[in-house]
Symmetry: C2
Subunit: 293 residues, 2 copies
């Protein structure tokens, strides 16, 4: 590794950033999280935002991942095409300065589809490098834009994004369903019924409206609406992600509350789901990239 004194790893997303100081052995010795996501940094002010990270964690080299490498970030780091492993990410780092590197995103074009990810790749490949997922695995990474990722030989072979999280948030904040969706989605009976419908039927844009109709007509309980609608969207997502194949084991990595819901829907589909911690996998992945610099 080119950085004998360790470095600072930053997972820099659209609305948040998480920074970790890693010692030469890869142990995290300090960290912080704040709301200074990419969208809150004015164009041209990234050097200041980076200087602030160093003031808080020390004057060390920085390895940055996430939307900081998008066209709205500091410097654009172009997508690396699938199949993409840690070597490919390390080879295609973009260097805004001598002591700052940005990890590229990953793209997939094939099967008549096109897709992109930026940020998840470090976690995914970190989990594979650390042995938390096997060398060949199906990984589901819930978030604003859920990713279904086929890992082959510890590389990202292909993936597919489903915008479930964003749609649920749009419906909750701005739609005719808004007042019905204010409750928390919980993996109980109502969630399972929604997931079952989403897994079996392909009428999502119709059954979403029915969430309201059923409450108006008294055939469903108002307090079940958020869990049912969440189940419906996630069930539909799992149907797309499994792609008609017999469900085996899926590794679910992401925010624990979301991972729990996705795991419940995967089990409803007859598959096995293993929930994983995303933060540890990010640290494994970013460390593995740093050792390749």
């Amino acid at each position: 590794m080119r950085w004998p004194n360790g470095f600072i790893a930053v997972d820099w997303g659209t609305t948040n950033r998480r920074a970790y100081r890693l010692d030469p052995a890869g142990a995290c010795t300090a960290e912080f999280e704040d709301g200074q996501g990419v969208l809150s940094v004015e164009p041209g002010r990234f050097p200041d935002a980076v200087a602030e990270i160093r003031r808080r964690l020390g004057d060390l080299p920085l390895l940055l991942a996430g939307m900081v490498g998008s066209n709205r970030g500091w410097v654009e780091a172009r997508y690396v095409p699938c199949p993409a492993g840690l070597d490919d990410l390390a080879t295609n780092l973009v260097w805004p300065g001598e002591r700052e590197a940005i990890v590229p995103g990953v793209s997939f074009v094939g099967d008549g589809r096109a897709d992109v990810m930026r940020g998840e790749e470090v976690q995914l490949l970190g989990a594979a490098a650390a042995g938390r997922v096997p060398a060949d695995a199906l990984v589901c990474h819930p978030g604003t834009h859920n990713k279904w990722v086929v890992v082959e030989d510890r590389r990202i072979a292909s993936f597919r994004t489903v915008m479930t999280g964003e749609l649920f948030n749009l419906l909750r904040k701005h739609s005719i369903l808004s007042d019905l969706l204010q409750g928390n989605a919980e993996p109980g009976d109502a969630f399972a019924a929604g997931a079952r419908h989403g897994l079996d039927q392909d009428d999502l844009t119709s059954d979403l409206f029915a969430v309201r109709a059923r409450v108006l007509l008294g055939t469903a309980r108002r307090e079940d609406a958020a869990s049912y609608a969440s189940g419906l969207l996630i069930g539909s997502d799992v149907r797309i992600g499994l792609g008609g194949k017999a469900p085996g084991t899926t590794f679910v990595m992401g925010r624990p509350d979301l991972a729990r819901l996705y795991a419940a829907a995967i089990r409803e589909a007859g598959g096995d789901a293993i929930e994983l911690d995303g933060e540890q996998s990010f640290l494994s992945g970013i460390q593995a990239i740093a050792t390749r610099i």
Copy 2:
């Protein structure tokens, strides 16, 4: 008819209202449209809003349809269950005063589904009464919430709502696709490609994200994004509406720009589409209800 001097018909929706003065023969002799939808009227102020209509169109009885009969309107007019014809609507009018009547909405519970409509029923049954659609017909009524309506013997036998219009607006206003969807959706090649995908595939929540990925990766043109996404949503809507049956003739009634897009997607599915004017059908329907009072 109880109203020998004619009456005022009002199509009073969530954000707009349209009022028509109809003479005893049913001819429209004056009309206006404004933005005083139900949501702009404060609770308790509907008598004032009604008085204003009379100041503009004359001191006549009023027959009101639409969201004015919802729980956010003047007085709630409960849903009439399917099958519902003009007689059923007329029998279940709700009378806030001696000279004001509100048309009820229609509900459907069956096939494991539940659904509601409020406002469209007058247009639909008006079209059937006036012979613009046959006594047995499939009618598609695009809008914020598109309705697929099975008309049997001039009554609404069943229907299904698809919230396509609202979803497209949410995506255009608030989502990660927002900047890509500002253009107008037009029924050309990009719309047809989207419609084809929506008709054939059931991965809507994934292919919506791909709209952005394809532009980022250069495999689709930015200026086609709005038409493609509109085609994708409407194609998926038509797939749900046709319900796997061989497509025959669908009557499409609603805003002309939307009707044109739905007609294009229905033709893409191999069906025939006949576009109808909604306003004339509303007047036929409301007149037919008035004669039953």
